[in-house]
């Protein structure tokens, strides 16, 4: 528990340091990258609830990431062209208010995750992986061919949404917004994992039969975790849409699902700060290797294989071991 906390704080400190370097070093691009890392970290933290704490290997979280993004994009675009979102049964207008958009994004992702989770949880194991993948793929094809919001071309909304009186277009302010949301969410997750529900979720992962024997249905617990997980990833999607002022079906593609999973695994599965550390390292690798060769994904693939084969438990695992060694030396 304590090591987890220290690791999380270290990852968050590193991310803040990157942001501060961007701000004081007058490198706004580093701020954009840091904000991207915070958002990816948030998406990963969402997935981690299903994957790490619930043991549900979802290869379809791009669906929620994309739904969140589209919620933001659609609301913002309606607000800018003054066409109501719907006129029946109630008239709803678009909005550029970020908090409203975030709530809608979370609701939309949560609502989609409910039938998807219900159906996927009818089975388990490898079926679960493939079914979540197929659901996300279905949504992807829908978004590509759905003409109303740009289809494959995606949807641009040019200016970030409004949050109080903040200058959200300023990279420094935007980074701080994303960072703050990530921090709040991590605190909430930390509380969640220590709550009654957290206990039940641990048991649902490690021994579902026993949980049922205690009179607690493991599927209800897992479904709840899946929905919470989708909601957080949806929020990350809305932030990512705002970061780019743009959404497109690319956010729904299965490579996105794979990447979100990579953040979690690089950082450490089921570790609070894991996804944040993983997202930071992923973006760092992308920048460093990408500057080195256009075939950087080849090297990324090799690195991933080695990391998983070593069974290190990601960066968090490395961190634990280095701590343990020191501890042994002292003892």
């Amino acid at each position: 528990m304590r090591r987890d906390l220290i690791f999380t704080l270290a990852a968050m400190a590193a991310l803040l340091a990157a942001g501060l370097y961007g701000y004081f070093g007058d490198e706004p691009f580093y701020l954009t990258l840091a904000a991207k890392a915070a958002i990816f970290g948030l998406a990963g933290a969402g997935l981690n609830i299903a994957l790490g704490y619930g043991g549900l290997v979802s290869l379809g979280h791009a669906a929620f990431f994309g739904i969140g993004g589209y919620a933001a994009g659609i609301l913002a675009s309606h607000a800018r062209n003054y066409e109501p979102l719907m006129t029946w049964p109630v008239e709803l207008a678009g909005t550029t208010s970020a908090p409203v958009i975030w709530i809608v994004a979370m609701l939309a992702a949560g609502l989609f995750s409910l039938p998807m989770g219900l159906l996927s949880l009818r089975t388990g194991g490898v079926y679960f992986i493939m079914i979540t993948l197929a659901f996300a793929q279905m949504l992807y094809y829908f978004a590509v061919s759905w003409p109303a919001y740009g289809g494959e071309d995606g949807l641009s909304f040019y200016v970030r949404n409004e949050l109080g009186g903040l200058q959200t277009m300023n990279p420094w302010i935007w980074f701080l917004v994303c960072y703050a949301i990530l921090a709040v969410v991590l605190v909430l997750i930390a509380i969640l994992t220590r709550s009654r529900f957290g206990l039940a979720l641990t048991m649902a992962r490690e021994n579902p039969l026993r949980l049922a024997n205690l009179g607690i249905g493991p599927k209800r617990v897992l479904l709840t975790a899946f929905v919470i997980s989708a909601i957080l990833t949806g929020l990350a999607g809305a932030l990512y849409a705002d970061l780019n002022r743009f959404v497109s079906p690319a956010m729904l593609s299965w490579h996105m699902s794979g990447e979100i999973m990579v953040f979690v695994i690089l950082g450490g599965v089921g570790r609070l700060g894991g996804p944040v550390a993983g997202a930071c390292v992923f973006i760092l690798l992308e920048q460093v290797l990408g500057g080195f060769t256009e075939y950087w994904q080849f090297l990324l693939g090799l690195a991933l294989i080695i990391i998983v084969l070593m069974g290190s438990g990601g960066l968090a695992g490395l961190f634990d071991r280095s701590g343990a060694k020191k501890g042994a030396a002292h003892g």
Binding site: L188, I191, L192, R194, S195, R196, F197, G198, L199, A200, T202, M203, R205, E206, N207, L209, R210, L211, A212, N213, L214, G215, I216, G217, V221, T224
Partner: protein, 249 residues
């Protein structure tokens, strides 16, 4: 005579050609310890799985507190007041014993769908879980993750979890296997004490314990109950001797 808490009638379940349970009629009354004995492979564990709802029967019925439950899922049966200990400990390695017991208390204490309050702050729950652990004698090991507990301690924890469910019917599948003599003795004393509150089905290989504790004993061989009676009756039953002890009269 009290109304039985649990009644099975004609309960059967086969696996392929093998009839693991064959027309089993058994009841557990309030306030008694009913022991189920029989050689390995007699079908005792299958019977526990059928009653708890882990697997479904081919034919037959199960009544719990007068209610037909054979089609209900495990969670519903637990909700009606049935608890079970597992033959091989079924615990979450990363959770502490205390957390296990707290979890078992939750269905009666407002459920598990509370997200924002750390369990560490739920003093009353923790105190009650502590009591359960104290009853099985492992309060001092309460905070250790299960992965760090010995085999015997895990068996004790199994009992504490079952107690936390406040069951009307308690199914104990070889609770003493792997416990030291001291632990067994303590458990026997505990079962004696619990007897008044609930009906207990005890599956056990240690005959001394069984004969000392049980109000009634049923003997299962080849999936069938071949005899039921009190300790003396079973000791003197010829069928039992033949079938179970392999002795010829």
């Amino acid at each position: 005579m009290a109304e039985p808490l649990l009644v099975t009638s004609g309960l059967s379940r086969g696996f392929g050609a093998l009839k693991a349970c064959d027309d089993v009629n058994l009841d557990i009354r309030a306030g008694e310890i009913h022991a189920l004995i029989g050689p390995n492979g007699a079908g005792k564990s299958t019977f526990v799985k059928l009653v708890s709802g882990e697997i479904g029967p081919d034919t037959g019925s199960i009544h719990l507190l007068g209610k037909s439950v054979e089609t209900l899922p495990m969670t519903a049966r637990a909700g009606l007041g049935m608890a079970r200990s597992f033959q091989v400990s079924a615990l979450a390695p990363s959770m502490s014993g205390l957390e296990h017991v707290v979890l078992a208390l939750l269905p009666h204490e407002g459920g598990v769908f509370h997200f924002l309050r750390p369990v560490a702050r739920e003093r009353e729950l923790r105190d009650r879980a502590g009591e359960m652990l104290a009853r099985v004698g492992m309060l001092d090991r309460a905070e250790i993750p299960v992965a760090g507990l010995s085999h015997g301690e895990r068996r004790q924890l199994e009992i504490a979890i079952a107690l936390a469910l406040e069951p009307r019917v308690l199914l104990l599948d070889e609770p003493m296997a792997g416990m030291g003599p001291e632990g067994s003795a303590r458990l026997a004393a505990l079962l004696n004490e619990l007897r008044g509150d609930m009906g207990i089905l005890l599956i056990e290989h240690d005959m001394d314990t069984v004969f000392a504790l049980a109000d009634r004993i049923s003997v299962m061989v080849g999936g069938r109950i071949v005899a039921t009676g009190n300790a003396d009756e079973i000791r003197s039953d010829e069928t039992v001797k033949t079938a179970y002890l392999g002795e010829t009269p």
